[in-house]
């Protein structure tokens, strides 16, 4: 993407004012987006993203610049401009670039450009049609398809010279059901760090049906009651609870500055015995996987919590300097327009022993959150929230009527202590996670878990 001698010149220019580490990140990415409303293709867009970002460390501080003019002259100009904010002298650090050997842990069989746009449109239609014909109550169906191929190069003054190709695709269906003058929605998607081999009729029909099932169920749901009660959160995207309640607070970004509630708790028992949580960027073809990260480092399987004890944080290069600990392969960014920081990859609560039936049977009263939406957290206070898209009342060990419009809230440290049952079937769900280095794909996952008590925000 950029030849080694230019890379070296740019890095040297970046270090000319006394910086002690310099990095260049080059990106060339091609995107396809297709959207559909009411079984008709509404928009189809495609394009190329291309640019470079230059980062310099001066001790524990970081400076960054980016541009989409990647000519040698301009890159050197940008490197020098960025460097002007450091008022030192060149330390004359020698740079020996060594090409990083990497194994492809995310093999791709069929590249997006090997399949026609019409085929992709057909996939959307198969999924949407299944949703539309599910019930007479389905009044609108929307669909979105996307794929991208992102080629990156990262090189730094420590000698790293690494390349990666990320191929991701995702297709989702949204259904609107109308009953008694109310509109309710449901959605489902498939996606992974995979090529076009992910799509087949059966998988596509399944997401259409699921979107419609949720919408029609919710159109007949009662308003959710409010107050403190038990919550049983199903496997898959339900893992967003760990992602928000704990995951973000374990990122070096806030831990290093002491602005996370988890700062200084390494080695302490912070969660209940049944909670083992892992961030694993090495899952083959996982939505949040990569072969090399955005700092040129290899992904790792990072055990964050083991039987409730805090074992590790997620640490990027800058975080490693600030915390005086080793980086864990967590450096990620949305694009060349963002300096990387510590981020999650595929994060999940590991499988436990309980079956789904056991968990439900042991729950006297509470909410069963079959499908979760997104959420957010304030890492400094640990206050988190996340939305229940499909909920049911559990009473005397049985799943009862559906309820709508609920949000679960709490504080991270409290909720991870209150997880008292963990199921035996792990599943993951695709999320887009937003933070200071942009919006990146991340899997959230868990088996079914039960929280003994949590605040349920409903409307009754």
């Amino acid at each position: 993407m950029l030849n080694e001698s230019i890379v070296k010149e740019v890095l040297q220019a970046a270090l000319s004012t006394g910086g002690d580490f310099a990095e260049i990140f080059v990106e060339d990415r091609h995107d396809n987006h297709i959207s559909m409303i009411g079984e008709k293709i509404e928009t189809s867009n495609a394009g190329r993203t291309y640019g470079a970002g230059i980062r310099i460390f001066n001790g524990n501080n970081s400076i960054y610049g980016y541009t989409n003019d990647t000519s040698r002259e301009n890159l050197i100009k940008v490197a020098k401009e960025v460097a002007t904010s450091i008022a030192g002298v060149d330390k004359n650090l020698g740079i020996d670039l060594v090409k990083k050997c990497t194994t492809v842990i995310n093999p791709i069989k069929i590249m997006p450009n090997e399949v026609s746009k019409n085929q992709k449109i057909d996939w959307l239609k198969i999924a949407a049609n299944e949703a539309k014909t599910y019930s007479k109550e389905i009044t609108q169906v929307t669909g979105r398809y996307m794929d991208y191929v992102q080629n990156i190069l990262v090189a730094n003054s420590e000698g790293v010279y690494a390349e990666d190709q990320r191929v991701r695709t995702r297709l989702n269906v949204g259904a609107v059901a109308s009953a008694n003058g109310e509109m309710q929605t449901g959605g489902q998607d498939i996606g992974a760090h995979l090529g076009m081999e992910i799509y087949n009729d059966e998988a596509l029909k399944a997401i259409g049906r699921e979107a419609a099932r949720v919408a029609t169920t919710m159109a007949h749901a009662e308003l959710c009651p409010s107050g403190k009660m038990s919550a049983v959160i199903d496997n898959g995207f339900g893992g967003v609870i760990f992602h928000e309640a704990c995951g973000h607070g374990l990122e070096a970004t806030s831990v290093a500055k002491g602005t996370s509630v988890y700062t200084g708790k390494l080695g302490q028992k912070i969660a209940s015995d049944v909670v083992t949580a892992i961030d694993d960027g090495t899952i083959a073809n996982g939505w949040g996987s990569f072969n090399v990260n955005d700092e040129g480092e290899l992904p790792t399987k990072n055990v964050l919590l083991e039987n409730g004890v805090l074992k590790s944080y997620m640490i990027d290069k800058l975080g490693a300097r600030r915390m005086n600990m080793a980086q864990t392969g967590a450096g990620r960014r949305q694009s060349y327009q963002f300096a990387p920081t510590s981020r999650m990859t595929n994060t999940y609560i590991a499988a436990g022993e309980s079956t789904h039936d056991e968990i439900i049977k042991n729950t006297e009263y509470g909410i069963y959150a079959k499908r979760m939406g997104g959420g957010s957290v304030n890492p400094a206070t640990g206050d988190f929230n996340f939305a229940v898209l499909e909920g049911y009342i559990v009473k005397d060990g049985e799943i009862k009527e559906p309820v709508r419009g609920a949000t679960l809230i709490g504080t991270g440290l409290e909720v991870i202590q209150k997880i008292d049952m963990v199921g035996n079937e792990l599943a993951h769900g695709q999320g887009m996670c937003g933070s200071s280095s942009g919006s990146i794909p991340a899997w959230v996952g868990q088996p079914m878990v039960r929280v003994s008590e949590i605040t349920v925000g409903g409307r009754k």
Binding site: G47, T139, S376, A380, T381, D383, N385, G405, T407, I409
Partner: protein, 450 residues
């Protein structure tokens, strides 16, 4: 390749490939940001980027493609992709490339002075904010965010019907987030300043606002779960309005994706509510003289005295409804297709003071809402959001409240507005629209806590 040469070549190839009309939307941005932590610049970034969106009509369908490099290969790619994308469109909505128009109002969206203030002075401002914030209260531990950002952007629209427009804008933004600790309690609070005049960045005022908001929350605890009269503080009311603004988007209305469908000329809100989109607003951050299709921007009253009077339109949706565009065509960036968004969307303030709004025996003041992207469904209108605020007893704020949710439905909320304040304020920008609101009193919303 130079911009004009690129566009000429692009249109030439496009014509050869059968496009009847074509348009480019070119966006150039320069950004500067710095953050300060413990009196040191811990993040510093500069950038210059540009991107070009191409769209064209091929057999009556609009195809899109974009690029960030202006080279020969990109010209081929844009024409090839846009053609394939046009062929994929099945929607029967009529679309067109607009002819040049008249009646553009110029706006004052650029200040040369902002860029002339040195980066060192902007960083000095952040250092003073941090110092001041820590000196105001012993419990202030750190500033988890202490950011100054300056953005300068130029947009150009040119098409084969002869339209040729450009507009340049800049803005300075300061965002401060304070962390204060007392015993086991961690609290955060923020302050935001958006302005083109660096004099408006008053470190004392910024620090004071953020620290006061933070420490006022100590001792917060939940309240009993039940329905309360709720006063949504101005920034919060704006947050909620912004998150629901897509219900006024004519595209969503036409596609059965808005709860406002079929409600024109009906009372959708209490008669205290006037909802306005104004691209020439005094002190507005979303001011513009034309929209993303080159239509002159104009003021639109969406709700007048509670009655729904208009939706927000671009050329396509206006044509479908047989009316004129309201000048609300938008592009999130050159990567997006044409959509619809507000410019400065706000509820008109009245003369009612905040003290008058809270003059109730028992009520909740909500000062912060979280989970707006997830706990709210713009299609059903349902929302359930994590919130912080204060309990009001006998007309006075009695204590801080946290770990609660506030839930309801947009339709009921609008109809149940009992009071509109005089304290119009912009909320934190999210998405492409700037939204402002005065504080609002809602007759009743469900609060979940204990």
């Amino acid at each position: 390749m130079e911009y004009q040469v690129f566009v000429d070549k692009l249109f030439e190839l496009g014509k050869k490939e059968g496009f009847s009309d074509m348009e480019v939307y070119f966006q150039e941005d320069k950004n500067f940001q710095a953050t300060v932590f413990n009196q040191e610049v811990d993040k510093f970034s500069i950038s210059e980027v540009a991107g070009l969106s191409f769209r064209g009509l091929s057999n009556g369908k609009m195809g899109y493609a974009y690029t960030e490099i202006l080279d020969d290969a990109s010209i081929d790619m844009l024409v090839r992709e846009a053609k394939a994308n046009a062929a994929a469109i099945e929607s029967e909505d009529k679309v067109d490339i607009a002819a040049p128009q008249t009646g553009y109002q110029t706006i004052d969206g650029y200040s040369q002075d902002l860029g002339l203030v040195s980066k060192a002075d902007k960083i000095e401002f952040l250092k003073k904010v941090e110092e001041e914030a820590k000196s105001l209260d012993d419990r202030v531990k750190s500033l988890s965010y202490n950011l100054f950002m300056e953005t300068e952007g130029e947009i150009r629209i040119a098409n084969t019907k002869g339209m040729n427009l450009s507009e340049k804008q800049n803005l300075g933004i300061a965002y401060i987030n304070v962390l204060a600790v007392s015993g086991e309690e961690n609290k955060t609070g923020h302050a935001l300043v958006l302005d083109r005049d660096f004099k408006a960045f008053d470190y004392k005022a910024v620090a004071k606002k953020a620290v006061e908001e933070t420490v006022s929350q100590f001792g917060a605890k939940p309240v009993a779960s039940k329905s309360y009269p709720v006063i949504l503080k101005n920034e919060c009311a704006g947050d909620l309005l912004g998150a629901f603004s897509s219900v006024f988007n004519a595209e969503n209305v036409q596609k059965d994706l808005s709860l406002m469908k079929g409600k024109l000329a009906e009372a959708v809100a209490s008669d205290l509510v006037n909802l306005i989109d104004n691209p020439f607003m005094d002190g507005g951050y979303g001011n513009r003289s034309f929209d993303a299709e080159g239509t002159p921007a104009k003021r639109t009253n969406l709700i007048e005295k509670g009655v729904l009077t208009s939706f927000l339109h671009n050329n396509k949706t206006a044509l479908k409804d047989g009316i004129e565009s309201t000048g609300n065509a938008s592009k999130g960036s050159y990567k997006s297709s044409i959509g619809i968004s507000a410019s400065n969307l706000y509820i008109e303030p009245t003369k009612t003071t905040f003290d008058e709004l809270i003059d109730l025996e028992e009520a909740m003041v909500i000062t912060s809402l979280q989970g707006l992207h997830s706990g709210l469904n713009p299609i059903s209108g349902d929302f359930s959001l994590a919130a912080n605020g204060f309990l009001v007893e006998n007309g006075k704020i009695s204590r801080a409240v946290d770990q609660i949710t506030v839930a309801g439905n947009l339709k009921d909320l609008l109809l149940n507005i009992e009071g509109v304040g005089n304290d119009l304020e912009f909320s934190l920008p999210s998405g492409s629209a700037y939204v402002a609101s005065p504080s609002l009193r809602i007759k009743s919303l469900a609060i979940a806590g204990e």
